[in-house]
Amino acid sequence: MTEYFTPFVVPFLLGVIFLFAVCAYKYIRWYRKFTPVQRAVLRENIFTVKSLRALGETVNECLLHHRVFKKNAVLGYMHSSIALGWFLLIVVGAVEASLEVSGGRHIWVAIFLRYFVHEPELVYPHAHVFAQIMDTLLLYVLSGITLALVKSVWHKVVGMKKVTNHTIFDLLAKYALWFIFPLRLLAESLTARLYGNGGWLTQAIGSLFSPQTATDMEYPIWFLYSLCLGAFFVGMPFSRYMHIFTEVPLIFFRRLGVTEAEKATGYTKYELSACSRCGICIDDCPLNKDLHHTDIQPVYFLRDVRYGQPRLATAEDCLMCGRCQAECPVGLDLLSIRRQMRDRSAIDGSGHYDGMKQVQPFNAIGRVGYFGGCMSHLTPSISEAMKTIFEAAGQKYWFIDEQATICCGRPLYQQGFVRQAADLRERNTRLIEESGIKVLVTSCPICYQSFTKEYSLKGVTVLHHSEYIATLIAEGRIKLNPGSLRIAYHDPCELGRGCGIYDEPRRVLSAVGTLLSTASEREKSLCCGHNLGDTTLSFEEQGAVRDSAILNLTAVKPDVIATACPMCKKALSIPNNLEIKDIAELVANSITEYD
């Protein structure tokens, strides 16, 4: 025991014990706050192939940082060198220490092995090989730390325009992390100078010191190294570095099918702590780019929520366009957290529509239901086009809201009025289910997302009109006249990033003209500025966001701009100098021409 103990292991040891105690306490506490539904999903899926996939994703994301690599190779290298390098240092160090039978039982021996074992060749085999591997791994981590240093003064080297403004506490934790590895290198080099037990790197650096300096400095530097480790471990559960561990359970929960609930749960706590505050969400946020709102991005919003200081103003100042969520390397459900924090329980109403003039129930068995949505009443050309398409396909249909129906409930839901939204959903569900329709087509992506994700319509298939038209074309039920129009397509946020529908509208458009590709499309498409998720922006501010989107579309010089959302069509039409068409209108025109 005494041979493998020296006072400087104490700071490290206390840090490790503290770290694991706090993590265990937090994780158990958060798990207890899961809803029964979330727990049931976990139990159901834990012994399936999904667990294996989660393991794969853990290696891919927590160690290799695959998604960051896709964003920027240098940034990916920086993250993975620190994560994978440190992980391998620990693993290889533990293997090496376990060969050293007598001392390997104490966890600190693996960390401070070079200090304790001066002549490893006499104690275990291949000691020299281990020394070379460990030195190389240390250099690997140090290269990442060096990049992090460069990044902090020159963001562009990793492809970032803005980086996170960290709190003092996060900065201290970061500096502790930065010091750990140079100190380890120095400590091992000094020991190598004295006993010759280092690898190529530590031996070379050690030779720069005189034996006297090495003797004097060896112990203090090892002590400093241990102190830095201890300080980092103590700060870790309270700083952004909590993401290092938390991302692992989060990936498992997510892969096993747990999702965010209506209100914040224990799962939300995991998501909040899994945010590494890397700041990747800042650059592409339209509010940052076009309006210079620089303190509302998820990185800051999640931080405030995590430390118990959520501000309604920050929660509200967001278009909910999902651009950040598409970029997030941790894959956090940022929009749901934003919605949960828009707490309106104090003013949320219910039962207000009890005395309403109900939309008449309708027997529509054998028909396709068509729901235009509120916004289609401002863009009647879309519903007219849909009528033409239904008739051309010989499909009987029921236009649910030809006169009017109540809203789908999503706008209220997004603003946190959960009771009122549930009230509307219930009424619409009754209307739709009682009518006997099997297929519900909607031309509004907001309604579509609501019907598919927030409703549970029994026996009804919900289709966006782009999906429906694509099917009609594929089945040959409508014949189109392929024109020579050059079309630029604007991906609506709610349809693309919201529901993952990118290909169907493109298939439809390719059938009526030539589809051009724009600089920002699909997952990277720009918001039209009028997303219903936001209530704080003025008309002029919305205009600035919209103008960016229009610029992206007009850059390819199209004859016509197409979209698949009445809201986007309305918004993009505001400057009044462009031809904006819904895909249904283009298809309807094409049918007419063919006849």
């Binding site: 003013i347 109403g349 207000h352 529509y353 005395g355 309403m356 003039k357 509120c374 916004m375 009443h377 401002l378 006169q403 009017a404 109540i406 809203c407 409930g409 706008p411 209220l412 603003q415 009025f417 009122q420 509307l424 009028h530 219903l532 209530t535 704080t536 922006l537 003025s538 008309f539 002029e540 809201m567 309305k570």
Partner: protein, 102 residues
């Protein structure tokens, strides 16, 4: 007892007596030019007795009584905001009014 008629309350609006403090805090109401476009397009107004223009006019005058209940009818669909010729952010206005009203 029902006489078949009642005595109407006075409809005189005493702006000096009204508590204008809340009305002053909702900036959006001052931009309105009373065209009524919002009410004409309102989806909620087709189903129940809800008139967004009337509601916010009363609010602007400091006559807050019953407005909190009336505003629960709004479904925040945003059509009114799009048709408003003055670019008033009506959704924001409605949420602000609801937050201030008792």
């Amino acid at each position: 007892m029902d006489f078949g008629f009642t005595i109407s309350k006075t409809r005189v609006i005493d702006l000096s007596a009204a508590n204008m403090e809340k009305a002053a805090r909702v900036e959006e109401v001052r931009r309105c030019m009373d065209c009524g476009g919002c009410t004409a397009t309102c989806t909620a107004g087709q189903f129940i007795d809800f008139n967004i223009h009337r509601t916010h006019l009363l609010f602007r005058r400091g006559q807050y009584e019953g407005l909190d209940k009336a505003l629960e009818a709004c479904m925040l669909c945003g059509k009114c905001t799009l048709v408003c010729p003055r670019g008033v952010n009506l959704r924001r206005m409605i949420i602000n009014m609801r937050t201030l009203l008792p």
